[in-house]
């Protein structure tokens, strides 16, 4: 099957030209080789092109980069975007990924010049970002039961949307009763609960399917079918080659959108020039505040414990002179270091952390099962993440989110307590 469908079926005309120079529009093999060939190093001869290429080529090149980068950034690209918007987008995206050649950013925004710069930028993107692999991964037909491994989508800083302007469906002509809001909130909670039940049911169905089809897949690593594959077996007549590609792509989109719902808050629009920097600074500030409180807390704790420890040591000096103490002390130090090493790993970004979606595969731990580990471990070119790891990370994330929520609620409580003092004649007893 064709893993790459540029622009979901929409062809970019210029792609072929640029592709000849840079990389294949098809599968990856040979891409690296071809890239190597065209990189103009300082000693390499200039590529055999006219000195001033007609503007058409650089324009197309800009469009190519735009199309590719838009796919990476998850947006819907439209050919009708004006060229200067497209160019601006490409420049922003390159900046975002850390491309630092000033010549590129100085290129004119009518697209009339710059093919050499664009070629350099493109090559850099291919290597640095693994652009082709990302596109392939994005555009591939999803034959498995995919689910996202990370919660990255949920972490997006709030992209402002015009929810503030949208009035709810039934025209609120004037004031809104707070009880209506309470009711909406209750419905929301109920909705989550039903979603939960639905998910659990889906899990059960998935698991049954996986169990029932274990051992049938020709790929030993997978071992069993997915929903789509089972459907394919049951109803092969529904799946012509072309419709398979389309439907599976649809499924894939559905799978991804299942997990990628971001709460777009109704915050008023930020008027500053760059919401990106603001939101990042906000996050940094909040984290710094939390860490500083923690630091102060730790400082107190440590000083006080140290004092107590010194006291104890003084009174038992003679005992501690003996050798056992230094030996055990060393052992204790090592064990503490190990413990903290774990922590340090968690605090640093993992280089090979899984992102995106993975195919759900049931691997039973039962040694006697047919699809045991023995056969599949032998060749393992595909990276596999175990659900236990993902669960652990999710638990950490859940814990920190709950803390955040509790902090917010605490803050509200304090403010409301202050307000309560202003209300006459009423005493509030919290639950």
């Amino acid at each position: 099957m064709r893993p790459l469908r540029a622009g979901r079926g929409r062809e970019v005309a210029a792609e072929r030209d640029a592709a000849a120079a840079a990389a294949a529009a098809g599968a990856g093999p040979g891409a690296a080789g071809r890239c190597r060939g065209v990189v103009p190093g300082p000693a390499a001869p200039r590529p055999a092109r006219p000195r001033h290429p007609p503007p058409r080529q650089s324009l197309d090149f800009w469009r190519l980069l735009y199309a590719l980068l838009k796919q990476i950034h998850g947006g819907k690209w439209t050919e009708s975007d004006a060229i200067d918007n497209q160019i601006r987008f490409v420049k922003s995206a390159l900046w975002y990924h850390g491309y630092g050649r000033p010549e590129l950013y100085q290129l004119p925004s009518n697209g009339s010049a710059g093919s050499r710069e664009l070629l350099l930028a493109f090559s850099w993107l291919l290597h640095r970002l693994s652009l082709l692999e990302q596109l392939l991964a994005r555009n591939r037909v999803k034959t498995g039961d995919e689910t996202s491994v990370c919660m990255c989508e949920d972490d997006l800083p709030h992209c402002q949307r015009g929810t503030t302007e949208i009035a709810p469906e039934y025209g609120l002509e004037g004031r809104v009763d707070v009880r209506y809001l309470q009711w909406l909130n209750g419905r929301l909670r109920f909705q989550w609960r039903s979603l939960h039940a639905q998910h659990q049911e889906q899990c059960k169905l998935l698991h049954k399917l996986h169990l029932f089809t274990s051992g049938s897949h020709m790929d030993q690593i997978l071992g069993h079918f997915s929903i789509t594959e089972t459907d394919l077996v049951r109803q092969p007549e529904n799946y012509k080659q072309e419709t398979v590609l389309d439907n599976m792509a649809e499924e894939g989109n559905m799978c991804e959108s299942q997990d990628a719902h971001v709460e777009k808050s109704g915050l008023p629009k930020v008027t500053s020039c760059c919401p990106w920097a603001d939101s990042l600074t906000g996050q940094i500030d909040k984290l710094s505040r939390d860490l500083m409180t923690l630091r102060d807390q730790l400082h107190e704790l440590v000083t006080c414990r140290k004092a107590a420890w010194c006291e104890k040591v003084k009174t038992r000096q003679e005992e501690l002179q003996k050798e056992w103490f230094s030996a055990t002390a060393r052992k204790i130090q090592e064990s503490v270091e190990l413990k903290l090493l774990d922590l340090a790993h968690l605090c640093a970004p993992k280089k090979n952390k899984m992102h995106g979606s993975g195919r759900l595969v049931f691997r039973s731990k039962h040694p006697a099962s047919k699809t045991g580990f023995s056969r599949s471990v032998s060749k393992e070119p595909v990276s596999a993440v175990s659900a236990t790891e993902v669960i652990r990370e999710l638990q950490m994330r859940e814990a920190s989110l709950e803390r955040e929520l509790k902090q917010l609620q605490e803050e509200c409580r304090q403010r409301l307590d202050e307000i309560a003092e202003g209300l006459d004649g009423v005493i509030c007893i919290s639950p």
Binding site: G28, L69, G98, G100, R101, H127, E133, D154, C159, T163, I166, E169, L172, G174, R175, V176, Y180, N185, G186, L188, F190, Q191, R193, S194, L195, H196, Q198, H199, C203, H207, S216, M218, V233, R234, M254, D259, H261, K264, K269, T271, C274, T281, L291, V302, R305, V336, A348, N352, H355, V361, R363, S383, A387, M396, L401, L416, L423, V426, C428, S430
Partner: protein, 524 residues
């Protein structure tokens, strides 16, 4: 009542959230229907036909349905009667507190049980959780020209003036009702024989008192679920979610449930029990499943695809390709602007994402260190750990400073930002599915689970995290909107207390529990 703008915005935010949730449900339902169809056809089981409760859909309506209004009507009548009963009890002399307490305890259930028959009969078919929610939220009047008028039990002026001192003393949880439930109803002192609260709190009690008797089995289960359905770490979580599932999908027959349980425990290759629990046939779904084969064109395409990916991977990892790549990257990076910030914007975001969880993780470690130690070694160990944590904290703080500096220098380098918010879009949407290590992740990465429980935990946790994200966002919006309303006294004075209580509930208790407002009247 809330000022117009504020209320509208909040309603819009909540409605948007509801809309998203409804969409998610629809998509999930589609997938589930597909899976069910597959399994049903395969195993020839008729009992896979499951319809989610009709009442639980309808995410689009932003006002309660007529059925819900009807229920509300009935509940209100029940409340009225309860209030009358209470008033008649209160008329007895005040000294016999204990006696009265008991008597009201006896008489209380009696009239309520009389209504018990009436109310559940009419509302059986509606999901009880909807009732619970509507009662606790008390949407008595939902929009200005409402078909449903505010009724007497919801009257908010105090109807009895009694010394309030007695009030806090009695927090008697009703035994039969609050069995194990610590959620909204249980916390309110449910029934005071002659408590002397104002009608504000009286309303709560009556609400819960009326709600409690309508205890269909599903009700208690759903209330339990309220507490427990999201305690995923809990080992009984699985059971409860299954219970929740059973409640919502009433039509499910036992065999499905048992199939699920049994397949969980059994070795996938055993046949017997599975075969026996379905209709008596010679071939079990398991056996059939093992013999399935994918159609030939698919297999051909699949193997071609795997080979292509394999070639691609080899190409990527070959040594000279890697060397040439690195040479190129180094050379081009020498031409970048000279004081390049330490982190690219993408890297800054990545680092921040990792650091999000760190404070809470570190606090957990700190709290895990006990205050007292039996032996000297333990104390030493604890001390070393704390010091290590201190260093980690300062390292993280340092890193944050570096990141902040990087943000600022990147902003300076930024290609022209015209000030239009829309143009900053690429930076707002980090690439999804970023593959950092290309060699390992060319083909589809696998997510392996080893048991049914793991799969369920995985999905439950993901949902929980999404829900928390949404809650936090909504909390922030509501704080921004509602607190100023109270602080600036923009409301009619008469409704101050209700508004306060509603806002308190929403902001501080997540809408689940209510504070008690007591009128400060001294009877001297």
């Amino acid at each position: 009542m809330l000022p117009a703008g504020c209320g509208r915005r909040l309603a819009a935010a909540l409605s948007a959230a509801l809309g998203e949730g409804a969409e998610r449900r629809r998509e999930l339902e589609q997938r589930a229907a597909r899976s069910r169809a597959l399994l049903r056809r395969w195993a020839s089981e008729e009992d896979e036909q499951l319809q989610p409760e009709a009442g639980s859909s309808n995410g689009h309506e932003n006002r309660p349905s007529p059925k819900e209004l009807e229920e509300l009507e009935l509940l209100n009548r029940a409340l009225e009667k309860a209030l009358k009963v209470r008033k008649s009890i209160l008329k007895t002399p005040l000294e016999a507190q204990g006696v009265v307490g008991e008597k009201s305890a006896d008489e209380g259930p009696a009239p309520k049980s009389a209504q018990e028959q009436q109310v559940p009969a009419s509302v059986e078919d509606v999901p009880v959780t909807a009732k619970v929610k509507t009662v606790s939220k008390k949407p008595a009047s939902l929009k200005k020209p409402s078909p449903y008028k505010l009724r007497a039990p919801y009257r908010t002026d105090p109807d009895v003036k009694k010394p309030q001192r007695k009030a806090p003393a009695r927090c008697v949880p009703q035994g039969p009702r609050t069995a194990g439930k610590s959620s909204s109803k249980g916390l309110l002192p449910c029934k005071q024989g002659r408590s002397h609260r104002t009608a504000i709190s009286a309303r709560d009690r009556e609400a819960c008192a009326a709600a409690e008797p309508q205890k269909t089995p599903g009700f208690s289960r759903s209330a339990l679920d309220e507490q427990q359905s999201f305690s995923v770490g809990d080992s009984t979580g699985g059971k409860n979610s299954v219970a929740a599932g059973k409640w919502l999908f009433d039509a499910r027959k036992k065999s499905c449930g048992s199939l699920g349980e049994s397949s969980k425990k059994e070795d996938p290759t055993t046949e017997g029990a599975l075969g026996r629990s379905t209709s008596p046939r010679t071939v079990t779904p398991q056996e059939k499943g093992c013999q399935l084969k994918l159609p030939l064109p698919y297999r051909k395409a699949y193997s071609r695809n795997s080979r292509a990916w394999e070639r691609c991977r080899l190409c990527q990892t070959s040594a000279d390709a890697a060397a040439a790549r690195n040479r190129f990257i180094e050379r081009i990076q020498t031409t970048f602007c000279s004081p390049m910030p330490a982190f690219s914007p993408a890297e800054i975001e990545e680092e921040l994402k990792v650091l999000q969880d760190v404070p809470s993780l570190l606090s957990q470690y700190v709290e895990a260190e006990p205050a007292d130690h039996p032996t000297l070694q333990r104390e030493y160990e604890s001390l070393l750990t704390l010091e290590g944590l201190q260093t980690t904290v300062s390292q993280c703080l340092h890193k944050l400073q570096l990141l902040q500096a990087a943000v600022e220098s990147q902003m300076r380098l930024r290609p022209d930002c015209t000030g239009d918010v829309g143009n900053c879009s690429p930076a707002c949407v980090p690439p999804r599915g970023q593959t950092c290590d290309s060699a390992g992740v060319l083909a589809v990465p696998l997510l392996c689970y080893s048991s049914f429980q793991e799969l369920r935990d995985l999905f439950a946790l993901k949902l929980q995290v999404s829900m928390l994200h949404q809650e936090i966002a909504l909390q922030k919006v509501m704080m921004a909107e509602l607190l100023p309303v109270l602080e600036s006294r923009l409301y009619p004075e008469a409704s101050a207390a209700q508004l306060y209580r509603a806002i308190y509930t929403q902001l501080c208790e997540g809408g689940k529990r209510f504070p008690v407002l007591v009128r400060d009247e001294l009877a001297d």
